[in-house]
């Protein structure tokens, strides 16, 4: 009899997962360097939200949105080390949606949430490796979700 893989999230309840869904973050996330294994969870009624539930600690769960839901013109900027960690080829830019999934983490900000589009979570869809890619430059910046559902510049 095969063993069930179960994580008991205080927020999402009991989640049974199969190893094919597991994401590997070789560097963890900034501030959570030991959080290297996560599963993505989608709840149909809550789309387009994506939960990233840690498999290391039950009570760590991030909430994210695909960056193109926030900014349809978002362009990914990867550094050499990030590309290597994701095992992406050097000869072409990865296509968002086909090669990689880009998620913006929702951060509480006063009565709403903000997303730092300069620090997307990038997941290689071909091997489930993930890295939070932090760029220095004048990228898309931070945006905050307004009352009317529009994303407004926050920094």
């Amino acid at each position: 009899m095969s063993e069930r893989n179960v994580v008991r999230s205080p927020w999402l309840g009991e989640i049974e997962w199969n190893p094919g869904c597991e994401l590997t973050f070789p560097w963890g996330l900034p501030g959570f360097e030991t959080e290297r294994r996560m599963i993505p969870v989608e709840i149909p009624a809550q789309r387009p939200l994506v939960y990233l539930q840690s498999l290391e600690r039950d009570n760590i769960c991030f909430v994210a949105l695909p960056v193109r839901v926030i900014d349809p013109s978002f362009r990914l900027c990867l550094q050499e080390e990030e590309r290597a960690a994701l095992l992406l080829p050097d000869d072409r830019e990865p296509a968002i949606g086909d090669d990689v999934l880009c998620l913006g983490l929702l951060v509480p900000s006063e009565h709403t949430v903000k997303v730092n589009l300069n620090a997307p979570i990038v997941i290689n869809l071909h091997n489930s490796m993930g890295v939070q890619c932090v760029s220095t430059g004048q990228g898309a910046g931070c945006v905050r979700l307004g009352e009317n559902g529009r994303w407004e510049a926050a920094c």
Partner: protein, 105 residues
């Protein structure tokens, strides 16, 4: 600030167990190798505020929930979904496969 000149292959040490080596110098960048105990957190400076944000992001469900977030997201859509929010009774894993692989399953 202490300023030191180093060439590729040379290093500096901090305390007893941290060593930073210049491994490569290009026209616009310097590549550094850091040897440090696993308990020492080493990160690029621009990552520090991201780490602070991530610590807040990790407790978003405990402190806020997602109801208000979803209400706002759907408020910005031309056609709101029929069911704007349901308590998460059924949890689905997303296999996150590329579309061409997903199609044959």
């Amino acid at each position: 600030m202490l300023v030191l000149r180093r060439r590729a292959g040379e290093a500096i040490v901090i305390g007893d167990d941290i060593e930073i080596e210049v491994t490569e110098i290009s026209r616009t960048r310097v590549k550094l190798g850091v040897k440090a105990p696993r308990t020492i957190c080493v990160m690029r400076r621009e990552t520090v505020p991201v780490a602070l944000d991530n610590r807040q992001a990790a407790v978003i469900l405990g402190n806020h929930g997602v109801g208000e977030i979803l209400r706002r997201i759907y408020a910005g859509q031309a056609v709101p979904p029929a069911k704007p929010f349901e308590e998460p009774r059924h949890v689905f894993q997303s296999p996150l496969k590329p579309p061409e692989e997903r199609a044959d399953k």
